[in-house]
C-alpha cells in the first residue's frame, strides 16, 4: 500500500491552505485528494469580490483568491489528484479513494486533514410544503449553473434565506437579466453582511422580508408561483399574512451543513452544535493524527479565517509527525465551554503543553447582542471582559488565549466563554 505522510481530503480553500502550510513547515510527503476537476472548491463559482482583505490586504474575487493558493501548490510541487473521491477513512488512517485512472486505491497516511467543506441545506430538510416541480435550486447549485456552466435557471426569482450566498445570487441573477421579486428570511435579522444587503438588494430595489418564510410552492412541472408568509416568534407562519409571487425559480439559501460523512464513519466525535468534529487546540479530532479545518469543522463566513485555520491544521499535522505521531488523546486537557449566548467554541479543549503561545478560539453567538461583553472565565475567575458594539449569529467572533496566561493559572480545569450584559 502506498504511504504518504499527510493526506488532505478536499482541494478547496481549506485543503489548499493546509497543504501549503504543511509544505512550508517542512513536510514533503503531502497528497491532496479533490473530487472536482479542478482545485479551488466552491471559490471557483464565487465570482463576486470581497475575498482576501485579511490575508492579502486587497479585495479579490473567489477564483482569484483560490488561485493565489493553487499557484503556491503548483510552485511548491505539492502532489494532488483531481476527479478523485475519497470513499472511506479508517481509524488507522487508511484512506480509500477512487478515480477513473487509478481505480480504487488505498493510501496509508500518518496524518489526515479533513477539509471537505460543507453542503447546502436542501428544500426537503426545510419541510416547505407544496409541489415538487423543477425550478427549485439551492443557491449554490444555481450559482454553479450561472457562473460556471453559463445557464440561467429562470427569469423571475424568489429567494428564501438572506445569508450571503442568497444575497449574492440576488445580485447575480439581476445582473444576468432576471427579476428578483423578493428575498424572504425566516429570522428577524439577516445572516448576511450589511454590505451585501446594501449592494446586492438595495442597489437593485429588491425587497428583503424578515421573519417570512415560504409556505407554498405551486406548479406541477415547473414552479409557477411561491407564497410567503410572515412568521411569529415561534417561527410558525401567521395566517392571513400570505403573499403570492408568480415566479419560475425559487432559490434556497437556508444554511450550510458541514459535510462529515467520512469523518463520522472514521469514528470522529462530532459536535451536535457545529455538526463538525470536536477538536483540540491543534485542530486534532479524537483520532490522533486526524485534523479538521475550514467549513467541515464549522461553517465560516470569511474565507480568510478558513485559510488561517487550515494553515494551523497543516502545521500541526507536520508537528504531530515530527513528534513521532504520539497519541496525546489521554493527556490532561482543559475544556472550553460555551454558554450564555455563546453557542460553541473551536477548539473545545486545550492541552497546555501543546498549545502555541497565542491561540485563537472562534465562536458564534446565538442572537443579536448590542453593547454586550465577551467574557472568558478561567474556572470561576473572569479574566477577559471585552465590550462589543454588536455581535450577530452571522458573524464569527474570536478571542485569543495566551499560553503564559494559562500556565500562570496553575491547575486550571475549565475555561468558559459567555456573553454578558455588563
Amino acid at each position: 500500500m502506498k504511504t504518504v505522510d499527510i493526506v488532505i481530503v478536499g482541494g478547496g480553500p481549506a485543503g489548499l491552505a493546509a497543504a501549503v502550510a504543511a509544505k512550508k513547515a517542512g513536510n514533503d510527503s503531502i497528497l491532496i485528494l479533490e473530487r472536482d476537476h479542478e482545485l479551488g472548491g466552491i471559490l471557483n463559482q464565487c465570482i463576486h469580490n470581497g475575498f482576501g482583505l485579511h490575508t492579502f490586504k486587497e479585495e479579490l474575487t473567489g477564483p482569484e483568491y483560490a488561485y493565489r493558493f493553487i499557484k503556491q501548490v503548483y510552485d511548491l510541487g505539492i502532489e494532488y489528484k483531481l476527479n478523485t473521491m475519497v470513499m472511506d477513512i479508517s481509524k488507522d488512517k487508511i484512506v480509500t479513494a477512487m478515480n477513473r485512472e487509478d481505480g480504487m486505491f488505498q493510501i496509508s497516511a500518518k496524518a489526515v486533514i479533513l477539509a471537505m467543506g460543507c453542503r447546502e441545506r436542501p428544500r426537503g430538510a426545510l419541510n416547505i410544503p407544496g409541489y415538487r416541480p423543477a425550478g427549485i435550486f439551492s443557491a449554490g447549485t444555481a450559482q454553479r449553473l450561472v457562473n460556471i456552466e453559463g445557464y440561467m435557471p429562470g427569469r423571475e426569482v424568489v429567494i428564501l434565506g438572506s445569508g450571503d450566498i442568497g444575497l449574492i445570487m440576488a445580485r447575480r441573477m439581476t445582473l444576468e437579466g432576471a427579476k428578483v421579486k423578493v428575498v424572504a428570511e425566516l429570522m428577524p435579522y439577516s445572516g448576511g453582511l450589511k454590505r451585501n444587503i446594501v449592494q446586492c438588494l438595495d442597489d437593485y430595489g429588491i425587497p428583503l422580508k424578515l421573519s417570512h418564510t415560504v409556505v407554498d410552492i405551486e406548479g406541477k412541472d415547473h414552479v409557477t408561483a411561491v407564497t410567503i408568509a410572515e412568521v411569529g416568534p415561534d417561527r410558525k407562519p401567521i395566517k392571513g399574512t400570505e403573499e403570492r409571487y408568480t415566479c419560475d425559480t425559487l432559490l434556497l439559501s437556508c444554511g450550510l451543513i458541514p459535510e462529515n460523512e467520512l469523518s463520522r464513519s472514521a469514528g470522529v466525535t462530532m459536535s451536535p452544535v457545529t455538526s463538525g468534529p470536536v477538536v483540540n487546540e491543534s485542530l486534532e479530532t479524537n483520532i490522533p493524527g486526524v485534523f479538521a479545518c475550514g467549513n467541515v469543522l464549522h461553517v465560516h463566513d470569511l474565507v480568510d479565517y478558513v485559510s488561517e485555520e487550515a494553515g494551523r491544521a497543516g502545521q500541526n499535522a507536520v508537528k504531530y509527525i515530527n513528534d513521532g505521531c504520539k497519541d496525546e488523546s489521554s493527556a490532561e486537557t482543559i475544556e472550553i465551554t460555551a454558554t450564555e449566548g455563546a453557542r460553541y467554541t473551536v477548539p473545545s479543549s486545550i492541552n497546555p503543553e501543546r498549545m502555541d503561545d497565542l491561540l485563537t478560539v472562534r465562536f458564534r453567538v446565538g442572537d443579536i447582542y448590542k453593547n454586550s461583553f465577551v467574557s472568558v472565565y478561567f474556572d470561576d475567575e473572569r479574566i477577559m471582559h471585552n465590550q462589543k458594539r454588536i455581535m450577530a449569529p452571522g458573524e464569527m467572533e474570536q478571542i485569543i488565549l495566551r499560553k503564559s496566561q494559562i500556565q500562570e493559572h496553575g491547575g486550571l480545569k475549565k475555561i468558559t466563554v459567555k456573553i454578558e450584559n455588563e
Binding site: 473530487r35 476527479n83 473521491m85 470513499m87 480509500t96 477512487m98 478515480n99 477513473r100 485512472e101 487509478d102 481505480g103 480504487m104 486505491f105 488505498q106 453542503r119 447546502e120 436542501p122 428544500r123 426537503g124 430538510a125 419541510n127 410544503p129 407544496g130 409541489y131 415538487r132 416541480p133 423543477a134 435550486f137 439551492s138 449554490g140 447549485t141 454553479r144 449553473l145 450561472v146 456552466e149 453559463g150 445557464y151 440561467m152 435557471p153 429562470g154 427569469r155 444576468e176 409556505v215 407554498d216 410552492i217 405551486e218 406541477k220 412541472d221 415547473h222 407562519p237 419560475d248 460523512e261 463520522r264
Partner: protein, 481 residues
Amino acid sequence: MFDVLIIGAGVSGSAIAREVSRYKLTACVLEKCEDVCEGTSKANSAIVHAGFDAEEGSLMAKLNVEGNEMMDRLTKDLDIPFKRNGSMVVCVHKEELDGLKVLYDRGVKNGVKGLKILTKEEAHEMEPNLSDNVEGALFAPTGGIICPFELTIAMAENANVNGVEFRFNTEVEDIKKGEDGLFHVRTNNGEYVSRLIVNAAGVHADEIHNMVSSDKMHIIERRGDYCLLDKQVGDFVSHTIFPQPTKYGKGVLVTPTVHGNLLVGPTAIDIENKEGNNTTQAGLDEVILKAGENVKNLPMRNVITSFAGLRAHLERHEFIIEEVKDAPMFIDVAGIESPGLSASPAIGKMVGDMIKDMLSLEEKENWQGTRKGITRTEGLSVEEMNELIKKNPAYGTIVCRCESITEGEILDAIHRPLGARSLDGVKRRTRAGMGRCQAGFCSPRTMEIINRELGLPYEKITKSGGKSYIVLERTKGEASL
C-alpha cells in the same frame, strides 16, 4: 394495430405488460408521462404488506397475499432489492387490544403466515424505540419493504425486452369502438388501434373507464403526505410499524426503506384533484404528530425530503379487475390503492391469465423472464471495484456523493431498455440525487452526462418530463445549440 393496449405504466400496468409478454401477441403500453412509475406507484409507503388488513374474501385480500408470496421469486428474477423485515401493528390504548386479535383472525383467514400477537414486553424487546404507551402488537413476519421505482421499472423493462412496446408522453383523449370491432384510441400522439384494452390508469382510471362505459366510475384521490429521513437514522426501527387501522386506511407508519432510509407517513386526505400531489403544512405536521404516537423520539430533524402521493380510492374500497360489462374486451384495473404495490405481481398474473383466455394466446418459446439490474457499486470490495473500473472507467467517477453513485451506473440507466431521459429518471433507476443533499451536488453533473449521452441540449433536459426544464436559457443571450 395491437392485440393489447395497456393504458398506464404504473406498477399495475407494468406488471400486466410483463405478464402478457409471455404470449405471442403485439402489445403496447401508453403512458402520459415521460417515464414509467410516475403516478401513485412512485409515491407510496414502499411496503409489501402481509395481507391481514383487507376484508376476508375480498379480491384485495387474495391478491395481497398472493402478491406477497410471489415477491421473493419476482425480485430475484428481476434483480431488485426486497427485504422481509416484518411488520408490527402496535396498540397504544389498552382498551383497543382486542383490535389486534381481530386483525390476527382476519390475517389467518386471508392466509397470512406466521402471525403472532406480542405482549408489550415482546414488542419493546423487538423494537426498543416503540412508544412507552405501546401495550401490545401484532407481528407479521412476511411483511416486507421494496423499492417501488425499481419494481415498476424492472417489470416494464423486462416486458419491453420481451417485445411489449412503450409510448411515453402519450395521453389517451378518447376511446371508440369502431365498426371493425376494434378499439380506436385517440391520443395527443396519434391514434392507436387495438383488440383489447387494459385500463391501468391509476387515479385516472375513472376517466378512461367512463370513455367506454355508461356505468360511471368515480375515483377519489386520497392524498398521503410523507417525510423521508436520512440514512443516518435508517435503523431507528427495523420493522414496519403501523398504528391500528381506521376507516381511512392503515395510518401513519414508520419504516426503514429497502435502501436504508427511514420513511414516515402517510396522511389520508380526500382531495378530488388528480394532480394534487402537493404536500401541505397541515399534512406534514400530522405525519410528525401521528408517527410520534407509536415511536418515541423520532429524529425528525433528519428529514431530507417530503412528498405526497395520491391513492386511487373507490367508495367500495376494493380492487376492480374485470371485463367491463357494457364494453367487451375492455378490462378495468381500477381502485388499485394500498395494497396495490404488494398485490402487483398477482394483479399482473390475474390480468395476464384473463387476456390469455380472452384472446386465446399461446406462450412464447423464448420468453426471457429474468433481467439483470444496473450494476451497483455500493458495497463492492476494492478488487471488485477495480475490475469494474478496468472494464469501464466510468465506474471510477462518483457523480452522486451522498449515495456513492458512479457515472457507470448512470450510463447504464440511460442506455438500457426504457432508459432514463430526465434527472428523476436517472434518480429512480440509480438513486443519484436521492440522498441527503437532494441532488444539489449531482444535478449539474448528471445534466452534463444526459447532454453528452442523449444529445439533449441543457435547456431541453427536464426534471421529470413535460415542461419541467431545469434551466431556461444560456446566459449572455447566447443561442442554444
